[in-house]
Symmetry: C2
Amino acid sequence: MPELRTDPISGRWVIIATERAARPTDFSTPPVEVNDLEHCPFCPGREGRTPPEIFAVRDPGTARNTPGWHVRVVSNKFPALRIEGDTARSSVGMFTRMDGVGAHEVIIETTDHHTHLGLMPSREVANVVRAYLQRYRDLDGDDRFEYALLFRNHGRTAGASLSHPHSQLIALPVIPKRAAEELEAAERHFGRNGVCVFCRLIEQELAARDRIVFESERFVALQPYAARFPFETWLLPKEHRASFGALGEGDVLPFAEALRTTLHALHSCLNNPPYNYIVHTAPYTDHAGHFYHWHLEIMPRLTQVAGFEWGSGFYINPVVPEQGARFLRECAMKAGAEVLAPGGENE
Amino acid sequence: MPELRTDPISGRWVIIATERAARPTDFSTPPVEVNDLEHCPFCPGREGRTPPEIFAVRDPGTARNTPGWHVRVVSNKFPALRIEGDTARSSVGMFTRMDGVGAHEVIIETTDHHTHLGLMPSREVANVVRAYLQRYRDLDGDDRFEYALLFRNHGRTAGASLSHPHSQLIALPVIPKRAAEELEAAERHFGRNGVCVFCRLIEQELAARDRIVFESERFVALQPYAARFPFETWLLPKEHRASFGALGEGDVLPFAEALRTTLHALHSCLNNPPYNYIVHTAPYTDHAGHFYHWHLEIMPRLTQVAGFEWGSGFYINPVVPEQGARFLRECAMKAGAEVLAPGGENE
């Protein structure tokens, strides 16, 4: 019997439809291919092909916009928004608009065209996290911006037009709808119960343990009760913090390790699937919010999502989250030697 | 300069990013291909390969589950929900679930494997609309169902696993999140302004005329001000009606003509793109709602939508809706002979 489940935060109903998992087309997604090596503008030695460097983790003594970097941040060459301009709103009848002001940056995560966050040593992933934080905080200084959307598209079917490992950051003068809804829901929950809904979720999930994918001292990866997608996985800090920007230096490596381990499990157990991840965080305008709890949501794209699903907010997930989580846990355990490679690679 | 626009109903902000339209990959979607003819379970003569017929428009004297039909409705062979069971909810901690009770039906729109709603004569599309209405109303009689989701996926990238023309109807014991949000927003607007937000939208759009794609006596097709997708098009009845189920027989052919003309324009002007459409309607539990206004939303899938977009509720649309609407209007006018074929095909 399929099951209807509701997400305790968003109120979204999802069908967990085990019967449909039998359809052979459901998981026919080929692994993500590496391509465009010859023309890749993100490879070392081609720094001139991108807009100028905004930030980099570099070898000492190397010059900007030359090789010697490990992580490099540049403006998106085809930005969705422009950095110049103001955020005055204007209306015509019932419609409201403003200039498309914002920042759109690309975080180039490594010099290696062929690797992936889940395959990199944790100390290198930590440098990527440091770049995230530096850019996240720097853009917070611009009063025009209300929210920063930090995300990663892996694979062409997940929207990545270049296969060289990279993430993106879009700073916005408005709060995106889903973020606003989640914030409101968390605030309502806090008002009613006096406790952060995510803290409560983590507590309940760690007690039940049937949807946990990975746990470390400071982070937990789990498949949500009302997962929209097969193997959808959330990575949450155990400690209550509203804003991603509040991640302390002492948490950078633990977060990098948790992210790397989770992505490695998805990569090795699901044949390098395309995915998107999004950092869910409090807005710039209220990053001390006691009711919100930043986290990262990973959405593997193993099934063909019909457009009606995002038009209707109605999802059909052919994988039971408890089974998906157990599959990933057991698979990651078998691949243990790879997940925690010897030689101090994971420090 | 890109523009940020907000949808007056949902409050969703969208970037209208003209600069990005120049990216060659943006519109590389190949036209929808017809396939699986040899094994198609929806073709005439193969009625035994589907679950039994629930409803059909048939030639007089022909038997159920045999040829002689024009439109045929069957249960989905791989249903997302099961018709048997009750809708009792149960909770574990903060999670709520119920059995996956519901109906999942397939409306086979024609015997012709190779055609498409936009290419069929309006009187045949009217029979499809009659099948929609018969099933929509019949399932309304089941007290367990709160909402019916009526949708069409065209093309494999839009989620259609079979290419024989068909729509789907899912009757649900809950109201999907997006529908609930739209209903709440419409109710709030009515409470503040004393007028239906869609009636106001239609009035404003018909006065401005710059986003109108098609207009007939009773229907209007337009590209919404804050369109999420290139050439996103909404088809609305001019007369205020909350529920799709309230469509009278006198409106069936006018609606079929408007739908056919709009789909024909998309088909012929955009090289048979994949798309999804969804009927947005009041729930079964409140179909007389004075504040809501049923309509149909068509979402062409011309760009690669990154998963982060439905995770964040944040969309980047590379086509300015006014330009998109003008393009479709002008193109449809040139193709006028096809849009309104002679010989009474459109009656």
